[in-house]
Subunit: 287 residues, 2 copies
């Protein structure tokens, strides 16, 4: 960083902490002050800025300053309330990276002699299904209200943001059928591409042990729901082959004493919880 | 749908196929024509529209029409070139659903007596790591250029949009070390929350068999790279415990003859390829 740009940064930082208009620093006073990151990038969050009178001019001056400072990725997190910034950012070479409830994240890669190393945003939707088998070897099956292309399928649905697979499966089974369950093991993962919102789709099948028996179906999402003998499910001509594969795999794993187990931990450095899933041999009683 | 709104729809559709200005149909001529979906929603893609002279007025009339037609989710896919639509959509109660390279998807849920059933966009970043062990029981390890908090770790990186875990692992190992590999099995999945871009993070560890021996490291991303005896890796005081867990699990599974295998298929109805991962017992020679 040149001494000049370093000075510019210092002045800009000072300006952000006082009334910008009370200074007469020429062009510098209008530059945005963002948060720096370890990749030598900078992020401006629209909600953190004071009243911006002339966004286009401020942006122009900020870009010149960041260019002089040899910044790499420049990010603007634009809240719904400041959405009139977006066309100006677009005209200045910014592209969309991602958006969520209430904001759009736009970015511009400044280096001209280095390819962008910004990873794409999440592109995989997570779903879960549950194999819930009772002591009579009956399988819990549902028929969805809005998706009647298969007569019977495993209960399940989308994983919520921040939710674990297993918790999602237990929640979905309870919401759809009112059956309370406990985790036994992970059975399968199915990965496919070109799904909803042009995302890939990762569907995890979880084996759950039912703790209650009486079904009370969710009328909003579920057309019908019942306990079905596993043999009938496997022999049904109209049930999808992949759903049958999952249930057959449940029987195979029970026979062979093998399963995908889960293990919870706290990350050594990040101090955040994680869950690891891994194959293990098991006693058949635990299956 | 009422006969009136049905007529409006027909007229609007006709108008979209001719020069709108040549008609004098009062308010109806300016309504947008979107793509309907099976949830009784409608999507307008900005790139599919003819020149829009007064976006705010068109939007107002379209919303009234869709309301009369009892539409549920209304979506606008707004390309970078039409980003000046965004502030107007925001002022009319639209929120962001997601954004990707070149467009933002905004939506508004019209029913007032029914909660929105629109699922959130993808919120999980996918990564892969690779356990590559040669015939001498040496493990392929790397030290990253920009992330030096651990001395040695498994090679790996992000899964690209539309890519399978296994392909991503083989690609990353080749990019980082120039070692060519073949798939053996899936070893583990680690799921954690609150990661990059506030997404959850799913990291899959794949066992790969090395087909070449000579390392040529990628200078851009990798600081150092080598074959390391497994025993040294497990005994190293500064290597993360989770990385050691993965390698220990590799040894356990090899001893027990158990693995997570992959199976490719074509979906019966969607006619699209998928991959299923499931636990299996194996002969130890295959491990």
């Amino acid at each position: 960083m040149s001494p000049l740009s370093s000075n510019l940064k210092t002045i800009a930082f000072r300006c952000s902490n006082v009334n910008k208009r009370s200074f007469s620093l020429g062009r510098i006073e209008m530059a945005f002050v963002g948060k720096s990151d370890r990749f030598n990038g900078v992020t401006v969050y629209s909600r953190d800025q004071n009243h911006v009178e002339n966004f286009a001019e401020n942006l122009q001056q900020s870009l010149e300053q960041w260019d002089a400072e040899k910044k790499r990725g420049v990010w603007f997190k634009v809240a719904l309330e400041e959405s009139d910034w977006i066309p100006v950012l677009a005209k200045n070479g910014f592209n969309y990276h991602h958006a969520r409830d209430g904001y759009v994240m736009m970015y511009k890669w400044l280096p001209t002699h280095e390819a962008s190393n910004i990873p794409p945003y999440a592109h995989t939707m997570l779903g879960v299904g549950a194999v819930v088998v009772n002591e009579k070897d009956d399988l819990l099956v549902v028929c969805e209200r809005y998706n009647r292309i298969t007569p019977w399928k495993l209960p399940g649905g989308y994983v919520e943001p921040g939710e674990n697979f297993v918790d999602a499966a237990i929640r979905e089974v309870y919401e759809e059928t009112n059956i309370r369950t406990e985790f036994k093991s992970v059975l399968c993962l199915r990965h496919a591409h070109g799904g909803q919102f042009s995302c890939s789709d990762l569907y995890t099948v979880i084996c759950l042990k039912p703790m209650t028996e009486d079904i009370l179906k969710d009328d909003r999402e579920i057309h019908d729901c019942k306990w079905m003998p596993i043999a009938d499910f496997l022999a049904h001509p109209d049930i999808h082959e992949l759903n049958k594969f999952f249930v057959q795999k449940f029987l195979d794993n029970r026979r062979d004493g093998v399963a995908i187990e889960s293990k919870h931990g706290i990350h050594q450095l990040l101090k955040k919880p994680y869950t690891v899933y891994h194959a293990s041999t098991q006693t058949s009683s635990k299956m």
